[in-house]
Symmetry: C2
Subunit: 129 residues, 2 copies
């Protein structure tokens, strides 16, 4: 295996973990809460109808993806957002921008063309009256 | 439930499906292949050491996330990339850009500060010689 392949493999594992962490609305909501500042587990659990162990499992998934760090603050453990792994995910998705733009362009072109045809038909029927 | 909440719920379900679809390196590789043009299932399966049913399962996950469409072309079914759902995923991640930039800025600041301290120590030890 070449170094390049090893890098690809490493990136693949990292991207798997990041996208898996994002594939759940509770985990996305936890990240959104952490974006407003660090928090302890009970604060993070508050908006959800979920047990603390269930929230803890979500935190572990986020931690494994490198999106969350826990710090000891005396006897309290605070959670902090670490957003860097999202950059690779954003770059990966960014490659496809040209495709969704192209597909939206062709939809706009289709709608415009059909509007022109409809307008021409309308004008013609007015002239015929 | 308000219309806004319903919209959020809909977006949540869509984002769950898109991020779940992206959380697998085989599925990401299939999307990368489709970015070069439409393909039939056997062409998509070629680079992978996987059975056709296994590849089919991956295609269904991509299809459910709205990232792939199958078209009948005579007796052949061709797969096409539909990239639009990636736009919402990209927008969701984009919100966190300020955080990964801020964290990289503070790392750069830390490295610069430590380089300055090291340089000062080096200058001082040269003067003392």
């Amino acid at each position: 295996m070449t170094i390049f392949n090893q890098m690809v493999k490493y990136d693949d594992i990292e991207l798997d973990a990041v996208f898996h962490a994002l594939a759940d609305s509770t985990r996305r909501a936890i990240l959104a809460r952490l974006a407003t500042g660090d928090a302890v587990v009970t604060e993070l659990a508050e908006p959800f109808d979920m047990s603390l162990p269930a929230i803890s499992k979500h935190l572990t998934v986020l931690e494994k993806a490198g999106l969350l760090q826990r710090h000891k603050d005396g006897r309290i453990r605070r959670c902090e957002l670490t957003a860097e792994p999202l950059e690779s995910a954003s770059e990966w998705i960014g490659f496809y921008k040209r495709f969704w733009n192209a597909q939206l362009d062709s939809l706009a072109h289709y709608l415009e063309k059909n509007r022109d045809i409809a307008n021409k038909r309308h004008d013609k029927s007015r002239q015929e009256k």
